[in-house]
Symmetry: C2
Subunit: 497 residues, 2 copies
Amino acid sequence: MSGEQELGITESKEHSPGDWYAEVVQKAGLADYAPMGGFIVTRPRGYALWEAIQDRLDGWFKETGVTNAYFPMFIPESYLEREKDIVEGFDPEVAWVTKGGHDELEEPLAVRPTSESIIAPFMAKWTRSHRDLPLRLNQWCSVVRWEATETKPFFRTKEFLWQEGHTAHETEDEAWTETMTRLDQYERIYEDELAIPVLRGRKPEHDKFPGADTTTTVEALMPDGKSVQGGTSHYLGQSFAEAFDITFIDEDEEERVAHTTSWGLSWRALGALIMTHSDDQGLVLPPTVAPTQVAIVPIWQEDTKDDVLQYSAEIAAELEDAGVSVELDDRDGRNPGFKFNEHELNGVPVRLEIGPNEVEDERVTVVHRPDGESVEEDRSGIADTVEEHFDTVYDKLYAAAEENLEENVREAHSPEDILGTIGRYGGYVKTPWCGDEACETAIKEEIAAEIVMLPLDEDGASSAESAEGDDGEEQIGDECGVCGDEATETAYFAKSY
Amino acid sequence: MSGEQELGITESKEHSPGDWYAEVVQKAGLADYAPMGGFIVTRPRGYALWEAIQDRLDGWFKETGVTNAYFPMFIPESYLEREKDIVEGFDPEVAWVTKGGHDELEEPLAVRPTSESIIAPFMAKWTRSHRDLPLRLNQWCSVVRWEATETKPFFRTKEFLWQEGHTAHETEDEAWTETMTRLDQYERIYEDELAIPVLRGRKPEHDKFPGADTTTTVEALMPDGKSVQGGTSHYLGQSFAEAFDITFIDEDEEERVAHTTSWGLSWRALGALIMTHSDDQGLVLPPTVAPTQVAIVPIWQEDTKDDVLQYSAEIAAELEDAGVSVELDDRDGRNPGFKFNEHELNGVPVRLEIGPNEVEDERVTVVHRPDGESVEEDRSGIADTVEEHFDTVYDKLYAAAEENLEENVREAHSPEDILGTIGRYGGYVKTPWCGDEACETAIKEEIAAEIVMLPLDEDGASSAESAEGDDGEEQIGDECGVCGDEATETAYFAKSY
């Protein structure tokens, strides 16, 4: 029994969410801590989740005109400096390569923190005529940001995996549509694959991507009441195109400046996935992305072993033929209870229990990971039945996350109210806002909550810029919830990861 | 016409293969030179080729028990130093990160040149019982080696993309079988996907992967007579397992040391692909990996335009439905000749020409990229017909490469003969060899050719080690072709990339 206890989760999601999260990540075999602070090792079960996200997003990107490329992992200091001309206060915390072999480099090389400054010059080179546009590039890679914070696997690491898309277009409209297309795809990965509902919005001026005209975001609410920035899609306007000379000869032979976008989603999506659904028994995953979707646990006595195993193997084969990822757990020397615990820890969404009774009655017992619900089903048509259970499990996970989100968007109209509501419940607190960063700072200094988003007018960049309460969402008041001055928009405050 | 000339290849593959190669890579849109010497930017058409290789290899790896993982891109100096204990003379030329943000790091971090030293400690941590073995990990990533050589896209770059597999096993036999499985898969990617025949062999003692028991290789002969090391699979024996403490409790409760392997294939495979098949018109690709497999070029006059375009579009749709990657080139303002040249430059393996005659006769003209062979085919069943042409084009490419290989393995029995044969013909020169590195050095100093491989006894690591002329290939003589001492094996000399 001691072995089983060591295997299991000992921390409580409710009472110590940080420790609980770290324990789930390690015990479910998703990641391990690297010897250098801030770095992790992504183990096969964790990496398989990232591959599932890659697989879906990459497919959607390609369906919508994106091609993958690969740019160097190093960026010369002078290239990075060039962004300083565009962006006031741009001072990236990066890792610097200063030595190659035994020699000092003449110019230090930054390990890419993001690749605008190395990609934009090539976009300029490759864009000559309107016929070269739109240009849509994406790369899957790792980036490094040298921030001194406590390591939290997938949420806060100095190196992380992501994709970064970079596009150039002839017109503002096209670039804005591109920005929204990618935001839609980010929303879709969360809502249709990870069973996490999100809010769409844009970042306040002072929290935009440096140089961006508009930074749009999908935000997911974690069970502990904090918001996760799930992916961002930036309409960059013409600032990067002007700085890097991304121009094209239009049909009328005039030279014009392109409009660009960039957009990225990182393995933070994995962090949100793990944190949202998992529980005190371990990892919980939706069947859409689970590396193992079904664990079959045969339950036998010596005299029934052959029959039970044969029946189980037939079902395993039938599921595999139907494209289900299945593990037949016929290990000797492990009792069914041990196996149940292990598959629960590892987040296998559906368990099939098969004992002599099931064999005799030509039935199968189907158990849902999230809530332990157990249903007997007919042996015949088991593949279709299992697919239906996948949908049910997905719906359960989504419904629970949706309920959490819906219950935790509250309104407040005074600083005390904002602070009290976030302090008591967490979640999002929306309040009318004058647009002044100082009002955010006032709240942030008290309770470490910030404006994670503003409602987004999806019609276009210029209308989002001039947002004056026509943001597609009703203005909830005329006076800023912090300073009482005239409010111009609605701000969503939350603590965030 | 000047535009067309600029587009086209101006260098000769035969007379200036280096310049020709660089021109094909750039003009076919595969890669561009980065601002830092030794680095390249992989453009979408080039990256799509890498994705094709990844797609096949990754599938085969997973079918044979490999799981993907991701380890940090940085390795602490002390970890890398540890390999010095295992490997005499280990002194990697790497890029060093010495600064993070504005601070000097306490310990420099190497950008991974290969990941044994960071992966092995985790393999040790994760391996407790024989039940944890075999452990098969792979990662797709980039690595950096700070070698001061002239940049040659995909062949010689300081940063390159590759996969590195790392496995641990209970027995020598299992580890050797693993080594051979990966070598088989590397051979398969060349022979069945890239249309390049390879030779299988092992490296001489002095050229093995540092610390390896046996380094096996697939070697491909380029048209200019040089050999490319196409991929290597290392049987590491127990040296790494001992140094990093990769041990396991066996069924009999005894602690044993594991046997490990590592194996890698880089984007050098792309270099070999481009160099092998391409010609003075530009890129040539086998249909197996070509991002665009078919270009349809409609040829119309004003009065036939509608009919020709409609007929072409129907065929394009039919091919797409059959899973063919097709581009219907219906651009106005470009004449058919221009389009032919462009698709030839870009390496589209099959072109369909459709004019009014084809429409009237319900026919299609099919043109093969490699040799310009042109065949008229029936419109009906065009998808199957095109697939047959794919096979034919593949066979043509493979046959040409095979002929080059077969004609260029020669035998020599004296230093003058070795030097003269390589000098005159290039290719491989096989000669009896005493096993002394000095005999390689003597040749190398004269003509920059080295021993690229020895025949491989596939039966096992220990028998390969004690290779005494029973190498699965007939011993071709008793006296070393260089020094005249007793020969113990057959060495293949060649110039190499």
